[in-house]
Structure formats: C-alpha cells, structure tokens
C-alpha cells in the first residue's frame, strides 16, 4: 500500500515561503492567486493487512515524526499498490 501524505503549515503559522511564491506568481501574471502555502509531500510504502490498519499506522507516523503538531497539519490518502507504483 502507498500512503500519499501532505504536510502543510498551520493557518496561524507565518509562511514566508508561501508569501514569496505568491509574489513570484503575481510577477509572472498570475494576479488571481490570493494565497500560497508551501508544505511537503511524502510517499510511504507499507505492508498492511487492511486499509484500516494502514490508516492507523500512517496516522501514528504523522503524529510522531512526519508532522510537527505545533506548526503543521497533515492529511493523507491510501492507495493499493499496482505494478511499478512508487515513482
């Protein structure tokens, strides 16, 4: 199974990277962009007996290591692995 995990700075946390990227997009003519938040994308391949079990384990991974609850939120999707799945 593959977990596709997205970690983003909490809304209350100042995100200077996001602000700078937004300014860059505005300079390139994407003036319609009102906000950018820059986070992380993490792929985790794991063995699991069920989707529920995988969800519990990935949740624990996120809260213990992959995200810092003080400054970051996370969400993830699980995908059953097909041939040559992980890029």
């Amino acid at each position: 199974m593959i977990a596709r995990i997205v970690v983003v700075p909490k809304p209350v946390v100042n995100d200077p990277q996001g602000v700078t990227v937004r300014q860059g997009l505005a300079l390139l003519g994407f003036g319609e962009v009102t906000e950018v938040r820059v986070g992380k994308y993490i792929e985790v391949r794991l063995d699991a007996t069920s989707e529920r079990a995988a969800r519990e384990r990935v949740d624990a991974m996120c809260s213990r290591l992959l995200a810092n609850h003080v400054i970051e939120d996370y969400h993830f999707e699980l995908e059953h692995e097909s041939k040559g799945a992980m890029r």
């Binding site: 700075p9 209350v12 946390v13 100042n14 200077p16 990277q17 700078t20 810092n68 003080v70 400054i71």
Partner: protein, 234 residues
C-alpha cells in the same frame, strides 16, 4: 564541574563549545556521541549548533530519537542542566523538552550576524552572572530560528517568566527592527518551567574570547560553572 557536549552527525559547533569549556573556562569536557546513552556523570549537557542528521524532514526532527536524547530527557526530569544552542534549541523543541517550534526566518535568509539580547531572567543557573535587563552582544547563525508557539503557550511563557533572552537594540529596547528572524515577541531564548532546560538561537560559544569580537557569551558559561554545584542532580 563536567560539561557534556553532544555530537550528532552534522553537528558543527561541538568543537567551539568544547574549546570554551576546557580552554577558556578550564572545566572538564566530555564529548557525548549521539548513539551513546551514557551521560558519563556530566553536570551540564550542551546540545550544540549545526545540522544534526542533516536537519532532514525538519530541524531536530530525527535527532530527537537518538539514544542520547532519551537519557537527556531523564537527566532533565531529575533537574539536570540542559542547554540547547541553535540546532540544540530546535532539538529541544522537537523533543518536547521545551514548548514551541523554530521555523524558517521571516526573511527567508540565512542570518549570520551580531545581535543584542536583553536578559530577562538573571536568576537562572545559565544567567546567574548576568544582571537583569543587561544587554548581551551575541551572534546568530541560522536559517530557521523564528520562534513560534500558539497564543496560549506564548502567554503561559510570558506569565511564567520563561522568556530568558529577547532580541533588542543596543539600549535594550525590544523593537521589531531588532528582530532578525521574525520570532514571536522577539524571543531568542526560553527556559522550561523548572528553569533547568534552556534553549537559545544565538551562539554564546562564538563570543567567549576577545579575539572573536566579544566575551559576553562567556558570562553564560561562567554562570553554569558557578551554579552547577547548587543544582541537585539525583
């Protein structure tokens, strides 16, 4: 008086801290390898600056799981002195020994420059040789030193007097333009509620000899030396 200086792969200020401890201060120095859980009877543990484990994922995120960190947590619980400098502060926050987190500087720049710090607590083991409201001149060197905590944590820190150092101007005035990294409330260093775990972004080990442009950092090392005998470590 024995100082332990922790070395992780990627630590870079261990030798600077070690130099101050044994060459300038004349105290006993013990380097502690991150895989070694034995603190070897040290009275004060320094977590120095650098990029432990490459700062992969987040600063300090991997370092906090090193065997030495479990011992340091127990040592801190017993009242032992733990002093995190720069990357060490980030590791202490990740490990939960101090509240909050250090995030990317507001400017997005790596800042390597002298700063002024006003001492808000001169009653700690780390600051006993300073005067309250004294201004120390100490350099910073970091890209991720912007202190963040949620509003409830921040007000608790303020109410309990856990803010030890704040970035200020030469006269000790805490101003937005004396804040080099966007830290909330200009916070440069905090202590735990018990007063035995200090985290600070500036580098006192880099200003402990006149040849380096200043000696204010030595006051903190001398404070620890002076106070260590009075702190009970079970």
């Amino acid at each position: 008086m024995k100082f332990g200086v922790v070395v992780f792969p990627g630590t870079w200020s261990d030798r600077d801290c070690g130099w101050v401890v044994d060459q300038v201060l004349g105290a006993h120095l013990q380097y502690l390898w991150h895989k070694d859980a034995d603190l070897k009877g040290c009275d004060c543990i320094i977590l120095p600056g650098g990029f432990a484990y490459g700062d992969y994922l987040r600063t300090g995120a991997i370092a906090r799981f090193a065997p030495v960190m479990e011992s340091i947590g127990e040592f801190a619980d017993r009242g032992g002195l733990v002093w995190g400098i720069c990357n060490g502060f980030q590791i202490l926050c990740e490990s939960g020994l101090l509240p909050g987190a250090l995030i990317r500087n507001a400017s997005l720049e790596y800042r390597c420059e002298w700063t002024n710090l006003v001492v808000e607590r001169a009653d700690l083991a780390f600051t006993s040789q300073c005067d309250e409201r004294e201004v120390l001149r100490v350099p910073i060197s970091h890209g991720e030193g912007s202190y963040f905590a949620d509003p409830a944590t921040l007000s608790r820190l303020e109410q309990n007097g856990q803010v030890v150092f704040r970035y200020c101007d030469v006269e000790g005035r805490v101003r937005p333009n004396s804040n080099p990294n966007g830290s909330l409330h200009n916070i440069a260093g905090i202590v735990n509620s018990r007063g035995n775990v200090l985290g600070m972004m500036p580098h006192p080990e880099r200003c402990a000899e006149a040849e380096l442009g200043g000696t204010d950092g030595l006051k903190l090392f001398r404070s620890v030396m002076h106070s260590a005998a009075q702190v009970l470590t079970a």
